[in-house]
Structures are given as C-alpha cells and as structure tokens.
Amino acid sequence: MKKLASPLSYVLLVIISFISLFPFYMMITMSTYKTEQIFQTLPFLPSDYFGQNISTVFQSNFLQSYGNSLFISVVSMAVCVLVSSMVGYAMLVYDFKFKKALMNFIMLTMMVPTQIGIIGYMIEMRSLHLTGTLWPMILLWFANGFGAFWMIQFINGSMPMEIVESARIDGAGELKIFFGMVFPCIRPGVLTLCLLIFLWSWNSYLVPLVFVNNESLNTIPIFIKSLANAYRTDYGAQLSGLLLATIPLLIMFICGSKSFIKGLTAGAVKG
C-alpha cells in the first residue's frame, strides 16, 4: 500500500482535481462576462461584468427565492433528522414486534423515489389546500427512507446500549435520555444527515418545478431558470446567481467536513 503513494498518485489526484474544479472555475469566470461575450471569446480569464450581473440578479426577487430555499431546506432538514433519529433510537433501544419487518420496510422505502407519486401528491396537496404554499416542497422530506436507514446504522454502530441502561437506572425518562444523552452522542451522524438532506432539498428541482407557480414561491433552481425570457437567456446573471446559491452549501460542507467524514465512516462503514 505505502509504495503506491508515489509521485504518480499525486499527479493523478491533481489531474482529477483539476477536472473536478474546471467546470467550477468556468462558472466563476463566466459569471463575470456579459452574456453575449461568453460565446464570442474563450472565457478563461475573468472579465469585468460581475457587478452588473449581480445587480441583475438582485433586481429580481432573488432574496425571496433564497429565503424560500433556506426555509424549505432548514425545516425539511430539522424534521427529517429528528424523525430519523427517533427511528434509529427505537431500533437500538427497544424490543418490539415487527422490528424486523420495520427494518425491511425502511430499506424498501429508501429505494422508492418520491417523484413516482408526484401526480397523487399533487392531488393530495390540492385537497389539503396546501398548493400555493411552500409546504408541498417540505412535507415529502419528513419521512426519508435514506435518513431513517442512515440513523439506524449510525446509532447501532456508535451508541453503546449501556449508556441508556445506566441512565434508566438513574431514573431518567425516555425523552430525557433521547434528547439529553443520545442526541449529543450521535452528533457526527446527525450532522452528516443534516448536510445531505439540506443539500438534496436545496438542489431539488422536479418537485418545485411542479408546485411553484408564483414568483413568491420561487426556490433558487426555479428562480435561476426564470432569469430568461423566451428568446434571450441571461447566462451571465444566471451563473452569478448560481454562484451565490452554492455558497451556503460550500460553507456547510467546509465547516462540517470533519464531522461529515466521521459520520460517513460510522454510518456507511458499520452499515
């Protein structure tokens, strides 16, 4: 193994990293161009139009879209992680009927794409009078098969049962054990799942495409798409908007990077 760490692996990694970064780099430089110029030159070096592009973005309801996306992602993330952790906790701590069946059920749910039910979901939201609000884009994240599976694996692998046992002997209630003791212990797993759910709901495209039909409901991806009229698309503005939209994800990932890796190790490896 050690011998593989030759200069060769550095070279390979640098090449791959370059490929990973290249489109990003293009996104950054192209966002500094006026749309018409993007196609007339090779936009490898930054130009001077970034300010105008950004002001175009802010002239439309970018901030509201940003707020909507944040709201959707934060609520989806919070509820999904809580609900998933509860399932994970129950699977570790309790013995109950249908436990095995529930496990199988969760694995199955993990594999069923929500998009398949979107017609039914649409009709359901209609009868609940939730169309025209942000809720249709949030509710379907609440029970996420992947999330539940993830937390089950994680709690199983990183929570010693003894902690719960001894807490019970000390007379702590179940809720107190869950929130006060278990939750802090499973932080890396929780953070990893938070990051993933936030990422997925932030980037979600199909569901908002169906439910957003009013500018006040725009999410970032839909907003970016709307920065175009039928015959001219303002790519410069779109790209600078996208750049701004990627920032929260970048911050989350870089800050949570350590926990994230820890979470991955425990969640996926032990699974």
Partner: protein, 302 residues
C-alpha cells in the same frame, strides 16, 4: 428494570419513536403512490371526471408505447456508462488518498465540490463545455488538430456526456465514502499482511477490498436509486431553448422520470396514463430494490 414484558418498553415508547416516521411516510410518500395506482386505471386529464378504463393504460404501455421502454433502456444505458467507472475511480482515488500525509483534506474537499453543485448549474456549465460550435471541449479538440464533435446534438454522443457528467459529479462522493472505509480499517491488519510478505497490490485486493464490501454494496444500491430517478441533469441540459427537443437528440437522453413527467404534464396532459407509467416504473424499481435488499441481507448474514 426488566424491560422484557413491560408494555411501556415494548409497545408505547417504541410506538412513540417510530410513529412520526410511519405516519409521515404513509401520508406524504406512500399515499400519493397508491393514489397514482388508483388513477392509473382511469382516463383523466386533470379537468372534469375521471373515466374508469380498466387496464387500457397498461395495455398501451406494454403493446404500443415504445417510448416507455426506450426511456428505460436509455436510463440503464446512462447508468452503465456512468456509475461503474465513477465507483471504480472513487475507490482508486480513495486508495491513493489514504496514503497521502499532506493535502488529504484539500483533495477531498475539492473532489467533493461537484457533488454539492446545483443541477441547474451543472446543466448550464455542461452545455457550455460541450457545445458543438462554441464549446470549450471542441475548441480544445480543434486546437490539437482534431474535428469538433456534435456532443449534444448526436444521439450517439449525448448519453456519453450525461455519463461523463455522472462520473464528474459522483466520483468525489464515492471517494469520500471509500476513504472513510479505508481509514477505519485497523493498521494492525496491514501490519500483519506486511509481516506475511504481501505486496501493496495484493494487500489491496486481498484485504482492503473485501473489508470495503459493505460500502460497495451501499454505494451500488444508492447509485442504482439515483440512476433510476435521473431527471434534473438531462432535463436541464437538453431543455434549454423554446425549440428544444424533449429528451435530447433522438430522445436518447429521455430518462424514465423525464418521460413520465412529459407524459403526465407535457403538451397533452394525461394524468391517468402518466400514473400508469409511474406505476410501471414503481414496479420496476420495487423489483430492483428487492434484489438489492437480498444483497444487503446477505451482507448482514456475514
């Protein structure tokens, strides 16, 4: 404190902790699918009354509608183009990376970036890169004396671009997962292998790879799910102008979900028929999932 037999611990508390998930799942995930199944036996455009037509929609899917099967084929093809290579690359990179002392975090963060990029951005950037006349890829090719390729306009190449995009997007994610796995393997095992005189390549294949099997299964299954749901990127890449063709050149990038979306909401709204297409997809996915679960259970047995 004997928990066994105490109803509080076998029924009430478990129910309390499990209920939210079950309720939310039934209400917002399963119910819509079941309702779609119900709709699939009807002819309905979203307005007016639903007309019960029995199995007619399914008869059409299985006897007439080639697009459904073409889109299934496209999806599988794109999946085969992209995922095996990205999983393999992820593994190899992780193996290299695990040996680095410096820059490990830097490389990992850089290569993870594509995974967090919004599909809208990916679609935009890739159309810029791969355009026939003005794309950077073709400019590079012609610079070296080659002839530009009609990447996005030719049914042969368009799926390759999507495949490449998948590799670009997911390699870093798989690398992170594998790296997590490799670092969790105890050094003692490697030391023991060294003592036994195993070379690095042999160690990798005989020790590392088998120990990574759970991760590999996890990755294969999640990528399978991701592939079957593919919609955002192809749609955003090939739905750029008012005259864009649905599904890209010759509909070669029309994935199952895109086809379903188009059938249900496209120029002729057919929610009933769309539901039937969705139900068919659902069945295909459940079957695939069951196979996947078999694999997972096997792993548990080990």
């Amino acid at each position: 404190m004997n928990r066994k037999g105490n109803k509080k611990y076998t029924i009430l508390w478990p129910l309390f902790f499990v209920a939210p998930f079950i309720i939310f799942f039934l209400a917002f995930n399963l119910f819509p699918i079941l309702y779609s199944v119900f709709l699939s036996f009807h002819d309905w455009s979203g307005i007016g009354d639903k007309v019960f037509i029995g199995l007619d929609n399914y008869v059409r899917i299985f006897t007439q509608d080639k697009t459904v099967w073409k889109s299934l084929g496209n999806t599988l093809y794109i999946m085969v183009l992209g995922f095996p290579l990205s999983i393999f690359l992820g593994l190899v990179l992780a193996a290299f990376l695990s040996n680095l002392k410096k820059f490990r975090n830097v490389f990992q963060t850089i290569n993870f970036l594509p995974y967090i990029t919004t599909p809208v951005a990916i679609g935009l950037i890739f159309t810029f890169l791969f355009d026939w006349n003005t794309g950077i890829i073709n400019k590079i090719i012609t610079f070296f004396g080659g002839e530009g390729v009609n990447w996005l306009g030719n049914a042969k190449f368009a799926p390759l671009v999507i495949g490449f995009m998948i590799i670009w997007k997911t390699t870093g994610y798989y690398m992170a997962l594998y790296l997590a796995g490799i670092t969790s393997i105890s050094e003692d095992i490697y030391e023991a292998a060294k003592v036994d005189g195993a070379g690095p390549v042999k160690t990798f294949f005989k020790i590392t790879l088998p120990l990574l099997k759970p991760i590999t299964i996890f990755i294969v299954i999640t990528s399978l799910i991701y592939a079957l749901q593919l919609f955002d990127e192809p749609n955003l890449m090939f739905n750029v102008s008012t005259t864009s063709v649905i599904g890209g050149p010759d509909r070669s990038c029309l994935t199952m979900v895109w086809n379903f979306y188009d059938v249900a909401f496209g120029s002729t709204a057919r929610l009933g028929y769309g539901s039937a297409v969705a139900t068919t997809l659902f069945i295909i996915i459940v079957i695939t999932s069951l196979v996947g679960m078999k694999l997972m259970n096997k792993k548990e047995g080990k």
